[in-house]
């Protein structure tokens, strides 16, 4: 690496972490500081957090409340009976996500946690997934970010949040027992069937968004027939009736009988086919390339250096998808340490790095008068509420609309109005950004009209907006 140790520390803290108020925390060996963070993500902080069985119980209770709402008590509407059911959990989940990131001593691991949660997006925007998103991140993503990609893929695909988010829990094989039973029941009662067939949503997105990539479809790595057969493999993967009995998630009554051929390989009937298929997908060269590209794009540049992508893909294939190996290669590669910061922070990164800069950490998000999720929302993003299964964009262009930048100016102004009198932004700029602080930004911060304006300028400086 050609850059000085001070500059390396600044790059490590901002590009691979979430910013530090003082670069002194990064050791002289910046790469070593990052490497020591590789491992499962920290346990989530905060209170009122449900584990997956607890979240499933909450979902079951909502169903009961909906049934009860058909006969609401006098003076109440049905909507009032069920409204607000998930409110506390959603607030606790969003607070926890931000507070954990703001306070962690292992910001690189936290960034990886965010990266994978976005790669395997589940979103509270879908009604049937609300209440499960926090549990998904804590149980499926956090423990698995530094193991094998296959482990993470299985954990994410079979988690109830994903099964609900991409409709698999409602998908029945066309020749499954449940479809036959339902057809007979419907005929007997002369009404429509409640269950009738397959839903391809999860199968398509696992291929397109989680493993082989859309490019895989364009290059002919998979076809519509593969999607349909994969959906048949996935049929029967539902939510356990008794949330405590986690193992009984696969329901053979809903499963499409017979063998299925996906990507030219035949898979048996039953639940094991999914594990075999995910095992094969995780080893596919297209998956290596897809994961390598996304990782390099997230940390280094919107159009990542091809040499870095090639190297990461090679390490992925050689290590059998060991993510820890991939991260080690990423932080060791010269292309990851270019001095010029190419990436624009997302709103969530901007808000959390601001909290860390002000050493407000957990407190900033625990104080009831500061709506941390609201801050991210006002900047155009919403915590745990990505707009589609593709997750939030990882390209600067998508966050650089005039309005988006204006919203950052507005928010920074408000934060600086509150905090600007108690911090010295000039000193903070030097200690946090080190050699990354450019002459023009330093001059503007130095010449600011008052402490608040100086802090606003620091938060909005290109050196702090980019990483």
């Amino acid at each position: 690496m050609a850059v000085s140790p001070q500059l390396q520390a600044a790059i490590a803290a901002h590009r691979f972490g979430l910013g530090e108020p003082d670069l002194g925390i990064v050791s002289r060996d910046a790469e070593g500081w990052l490497a020591a963070q590789i491992g499962p993500a920290d346990p989530a902080r905060g209170s009122g957090l449900l584990d997956t069985p607890g979240a499933l119980r909450l979902v079951a209770e909502e169903r009961e409340r909906r049934v009860a709402a058909k006969n609401p008590p006098p003076g109440m509407t049905a909507e009032q009976v069920v409204s607000g059911h998930y409110r506390e959990v959603l607030i606790a989940d969003a607070r926890s996500r931000l507070a954990t990131a703001a306070a962690t001593q292992r910001p690189f691991a936290e960034r990886l946690q965010w990266f994978w949660a976005n790669h395997f997006t589940v979103s509270v925007l879908k009604g049937s997934t609300r209440g499960l998103v926090g549990a998904f991140e804590r149980d499926a993503i956090r423990p698995n970010i530094a193991g094998r990609f296959e482990t993470l893929l299985v954990a994410a695909t079979t988690h109830p949040a994903m099964l609900r988010y991409l409709d698999n829990w409602l998908s029945a094989g066309p020749h499954s027992r449940i479809v036959a039973l339902e057809a007979r029941r419907a005929a007997r009662r002369d009404e429509g069937t409640r269950v009738s067939g397959i839903n391809e949503n999860l199968a398509r997105e696992v291929l397109e968004l989680h493993t082989l990539g859309a490019e895989g479809a364009r290059n002919g790595a998979y076809t519509q027939a593969d999607v349909t057969a994969f959906a048949a493999v996935l049929s029967g993967w539902r939510i356990a009736r008794d949330p405590a009995a986690d193992a009984s998630r696969f329901d053979p009554d809903w499963h499409e009988p017979g063998r299925k051929t996906v990507l030219g390989k035949s898979y048996p009937e039953g639940p094991n086919a999914l594990y075999e298929l995910l095992h094969d997908l995780a080893r596919h060269p297209a998956a290596a390339r897809f994961v390598a590209t996304k990782l390099a794009r997230h940390f280094v540049a919107d159009e990542p250096p091809p040499a870095l992508v090639d190297r990461l893909a090679a390490v992925y294939l050689k290590s059998d998808g060991q993510l820890g190996e991939l991260y080690r290669e990423l932080i060791h590669h010269e292309a990851a340490w270019t001095p010029l910061p190419a990436k624009l922070k997302t709103p969530e990164e901007f808000v959390v790095s601001t909290a860390r800069l002000l050493a407000a950490g957990e407190r900033m998000f625990e104080r009831p008068e500061v709506n941390a999720g609201g801050a991210v929302f006002s900047l155009g993003q919403r915590v745990m509420a990505a707009p589609s299964p593709a997750g939030w964009s990882d390209r600067g262009d998508d966050w650089l609309g005039p309005d988006a930048v204006w919203k950052r100016v507005e928010w920074a102004t408000r934060v600086a109005d509150r905090a600007g009198r108690s911090v010295d932004a000039r000193r903070l700029a030097v200690e946090s950004l080190g050699p990354r602080l450019g002459a023009e930004s330093a001059r503007q911060i130095e010449r600011a009209a008052d402490g608040s304006q100086a802090l606003a300028l620091l938060l909005l400086a290109p050196e702090f907006q980019r990483r």
Partner: protein
């Protein structure tokens, strides 16, 4: 008119009365340059046409939005999806509109809206992300182009564009003059801070450009300081959804004499894999929201006489399968529906080379077959409405599309 509107008209120069005066003055002098505020490069004069693009993200179910109730195979092909909570709104013996599309149906009756059916992109796969890339880029394959067709069209016509969004959608990217606008909940930062930021961004062109545009846009917005919902709204009914608010605001920008010539609005939520027959489900609620937004656009532009010069195009990245799936929804398909509305549109009709709904007539046995290339619709509108030369349409706006002939959809 609610009290807030009145207040606004008093405070800001661009009241409707003032704008009418404007138009008259321009007509007398015969030159827009006579008015100093209209000399901005690319500014649209008061008499120029307006184009609104509404993107429905997620893949609108064309047969849900505009059911072909008169097709002999409709009932069998659609099964439970052929049943609506209220009767569909009839357009002609074959076609109707979803019962949620009340305002759009009224516009069809007034010959201000047309339905283009069995329409779609050259793209035939089923990925949202690839299809939206093709829809917005104007190419034939995903990722062959990295700018948008409307962005290139605006460059060709020297016009300004506006995205009612915090970020610029692909369709408007290119080297066009494009602004973004979305409502704010925070107070405006001081002009002094912005001036200092501009100096600080001298070395970062992307941030500098975004800030400069935002600043101008804030100054131009007729309601820049009045972002809160008008008083009395809460008492008189539910708050309008975000799309309705944005539509209303889009109309305000478009009605300004030096406003943008083209605006892009988006609504998501059309990926209806489940629960489509529910009268409060995602499809019905989404269409209601769309309908109210289109009505708000019309009302906002009609007040200033601009509606007569407006064409609104409503499109989605693809349609959905004809048959119901296992969860009372529909899976990704190809052919779908598009809507055209506005005073400039030759409306009151369904434009379709109808392929039929029987299994053998469907694409891959699954989808409504595409018989009209969406680019033919868009080229027709861009050529007639934004006066873009056909050579430019064939080669730059929609590359290699000479074989796709523009459809005549506007009043001649």
């Amino acid at each position: 008119m609610n009290p807030n509107d009145r207040q606004r008209n008093d405070r800001f120069p661009q009241s409707p009365a003032r704008r009418r005066l404007f138009t008259a003055a321009a007509a007398v002098t015969g030159s827009l340059a006579a008015w100093p505020t209209l000399t901005l490069a690319g500014a649209a004069g008061p008499g120029t046409n307006r184009l609104v693009l509404v993107i429905l993200r997620g893949g609108l179910d064309g047969l849900g939005a505009a059911p072909a109730i008169g097709d002999p195979d409709f009932a069998a092909a659609r099964g439970p999806l052929g049943q609506f909570a209220a009767p569909p709104l009839r357009v002609d013996p074959t076609f109707a509109l979803h019962p949620s599309l009340v305002e759009l149906h009224a516009m069809v009756g007034q010959r201000e809206a047309a339905i283009v059916h069995a329409v779609g992109l050259p793209y035939r796969e089923r990925s949202h992300f690839d299809a939206q890339q093709v829809l917005e880029s104007g190419g034939t394959r995903p990722y062959e182009l990295s700018t948008g067709w409307l962005g290139r069209a605006l460059v060709a016509s020297g016009s300004k564009g506006l995205a009612l969004n915090t970020t610029v959608p692909l369709v408007l990217r290119g080297r066009a003059d494009v602004d973004t606008w979305a409502p704010s909940v925070l107070p405006d930062p001081s002009a002094d801070l912005v001036a200092r930021l501009e100096r600080m961004y001298a070395g970062d062109p992307a941030l500098a450009t975004a800030l400069e545009r935002a600043r101008q846009l804030r100054a131009d917005s007729p309601m820049a300081t009045q972002d809160a919902a008008p008083a009395g709204m809460a008492a008189s009914g539910p708050r309008p959804g975000a799309f309705v608010t944005l539509s209303r605001r889009a109309a305000e920008f478009l009605a300004q004499a030096n406003g943008p010539q083209a605006a892009v609005l988006e609504i998501g939520g059309w990926d209806t894999h489940a629960n489509q027959t529910n009268p409060n489900g995602p499809l019905a609620a989404g269409l209601r929201q769309l309908d109210l937004g289109l009505a708000a656009l019309r009302a906002g532009l009609a007040a200033d006489g601009a509606w007569q010069r407006t064409a609104v195009v409503v499109v989605s990245e693809f349609g959905r399968e004809v048959a119901v799936n296992g969860t009372l929804g529909t899976d990704h398909g190809t052919g779908g529906v598009a809507f055209l509305l506005g005073g400039a549109v030759q409306g009151g009709r369904v434009v379709a080379d109808w392929p039929g709904l029987a299994k053998g007539q469907r694409y891959e046995g699954r989808d409504l077959r595409i018989t009209t290339d969406l680019r033919a619709v868009l080229k027709g509108v861009l050529g007639d409405h934004l006066k873009i030369a056909s050579r430019s349409l064939d080669a730059e706006v929609f590359p290699d599309s000479a074989k796709v002939r523009p459809l005549q959809l506007l009043r001649g």
